[in-house]
């Protein structure tokens, strides 16, 4: 049904708008819609009270999240998430670039990095909690402690893999250190860096939730855990739905930025495919 609407929207003249609307909304929304329908039917048939229908959940969604809970729980969570992501990106790229550029630094830090990377970040929560208390800083630190790794490691690899001919070109024209960093090393590493950021985002979202489930008194993760403990099943599901929406929004924002930053990269791939 959705696919058909999509096809109708594609008219030769309206290609720009019509097709984009179709591909941007209808196609991606088709399958979720179908799932909802299936879910609705299944939950109606089922007697399990932990498995409410979508309509119940939507209702709970409105009651739970629209209103003060949005300001008290959702916004602070999103704020810490944004802070954590920003810090992870800045730290990951800056440190990764330095480590990638200087071999002695790499040799010095490699064992340490391997060790820290191997620690699952949730394990750090009690430690960080002791050090920083149950504060926003602690939660942001937990987010960064997980999300920074994919960004850091991908940046190191990307920076190290700078093409030798491109480097020699920079040498032969006596490009300065900063120009080299800005016009060669970072752009050349940008596909890897963006891949790292993409992984980092999903880790950050997970850790945002987990950091709030321990000894916390507000936040999206705290709310979901609270609902679950008090058998407010529809509310709990609505929280999970909200988390999913945050994830989708995060991915969409990332997609927009990525397309801008890596326009050249996608352009080359398109040319090669043609």
């Amino acid at each position: 049904m959705t696919a058909q609407t999509g096809r109708i929207a594609v008219r030769p003249r309206g290609r720009g708008v019509g097709r984009r609307v179709a591909e941007g909304f209808l196609y991606p929304l088709g399958l979720p819609f179908l799932l909802l329908v299936v879910w609705g039917m299944a939950s109606t048939a089922s007697e399990n009270r932990f498995f409410p229908g979508p309509l119940t959940i939507f209702e709970a969604f409105g009651d739970t999240w629209v209103g003060p809970a949005f300001v008290d729980d959702v916004l602070p969570s999103l704020y810490r998430l944004a802070l954590g992501i920003t810090a992870s990106i800045v730290i990951g790229i800056a440190a990764g670039t330095l480590i990638g550029l200087f071999q002695w630094l790499r040799e010095l830090l490699e064992p340490l990095l391997e060790f820290f990377r191997a620690i699952p970040p949730p394990v750090l929560i009690p430690v960080v909690m002791l050090l920083l208390g149950i504060t926003d800083t602690m939660k942001v630190v937990v987010i960064v402690s997980g999300a920074v790794w994919p960004i850091l490691l991908n940046t190191i690899d990307g920076v190290r893999a700078t093409d030798s001919v491109m480097s020699e070109t920079a040498d032969s024209f006596r490009i300065t250190w900063w120009e080299r960093l800005w016009f060669l090393v970072l752009p050349a590493a940008s596909p890897r860096i963006m891949a790292g950021v993409r992984q980092g985002l999903s880790v950050a979202l997970i850790l945002m939730v987990i950091s709030e489930m321990f000894a916390s008194s507000a936040g999206l993760g705290y709310r979901i855990a609270y609902f679950q403990r008090n058998y407010l099943i529809a509310e709990m599901w609505s929280g999970i739905l909200l988390l999913g929406l945050v994830g989708v929004l995060l991915a969409a924002t990332f997609g927009v930025v990525e397309r801008r930053v890596l326009r050249w990269y996608h352009g080359i791939r398109e040319v090669n495919r043609a």
């Binding site: 020699e168 032969s172 024209f173 352009g267 080359i268």
Partner: protein, 267 residues
């Protein structure tokens, strides 16, 4: 020709690459000189160390022993008076920059006013016939056009010597002829000295005022041949000259000898 002074002096240049599987002697003992304003072609069998020689000239590689001097000063690193056009143009242009951005990049650290810099870039792009493609990205262009961008970048840098490493090896014959004429024109109109490496014998004779034939590895200069063709060259008439044919036959013979590892018969 105007009075020429010595521009480049290479003496007993030797380059050995050290590697885990054993040392590779890429260049044995190469000596030659080049005057300002000359266009010298270097030919030699594949793998004989042409790229290595150019990198030593350009200060990108340190010779194992021997001297490379430019204007009487030893070359210890890349010089602002030299620009290199690399064999792999696809990997030498930066795909994230536009054509204009690529040409402009080496000029950023030169102390130039904005207008002067933009004028250099525009002139260089016009000189290679790419004024219209300034806002494109390199990967949107054909191979021949990409190599033109690399040439424009080198020209805008205003070097005394342009060093070109088999720049046209990967473009089709027609484009290649056009690019050869472009090089001749840059040489005559702008008075740039050019070192041009090629494995194409016809190309070396057509372009050069001198052709250096290198032996196979470990390399020395097998022959240093003056090309006594008229300075105005034309793809059709020049290549039809009897003298052109004689010269190319001669170079061809020398290369065959070089491949077999014989020294020059008649010096």
């Amino acid at each position: 020709m105007p009075d020429r002074s010595m521009l480049l002096r290479v003496e007993h240049l030797r380059k050995v690459y050290g590697s885990a599987t054993g040392d590779v002697e890429a260049i044995g003992d190469v000596s030659f000189t080049m005057d300002a304003g000359e266009l010298v072609c270097i030919v030699g069998p594949s793998g004989c160390g042409k790229t290595t020689l150019l990198k030593c000239l350009a200060g990108l590689l340190r010779p194992t022993s021997g001297i490379v001097e430019m204007d009487g000063v030893p070359v210890t690193g890349p010089s602002p008076a030299m620009a290199v056009v690399f064999q792999e143009y696809g990997r030498s242009l930066y795909p994230w920059l536009t054509v204009r951005g690529n040409v402009e990049l080496p000029l950023r650290h030169k102390r130039l006013s904005r207008e002067a810099r933009e004028k250099l870039v525009t002139d260089a792009l016009d000189a290679v016939g790419l004024g219209h493609a300034a806002r494109s990205h390199p990967w949107q262009l054909s191979g021949g056009m990409q190599q033109r961008v690399a040439i424009a970048r080198a020209v805008a840098y205003q070097p005394e010597v342009l060093i070109m490493d088999e720049p046209f090896a990967a473009v089709d014959a027609q484009t290649r002829a056009d690019l050869e004429d472009l090089v001749r024109e840059l040489h005559t109109a702008r008075g740039i000295s050019i070192v041009f490496v090629t494995h194409d014998i016809d190309e070396s004779v057509y372009l050069g005022e001198r052709v250096l034939v290198l032996s196979k590895s470990p390399t020395w200069v097998q022959e240093d041949l003056a090309i006594d063709l008229p300075p105005e060259r034309d793809q059709i008439t020049t290549r039809a000259l009897l003298r052109f044919t004689e010269l190319r036959t001669h170079v061809y013979d020398q290369i065959q000898r070089a491949k077999r590892g014989e020294t020059a018969a008649a010096r």
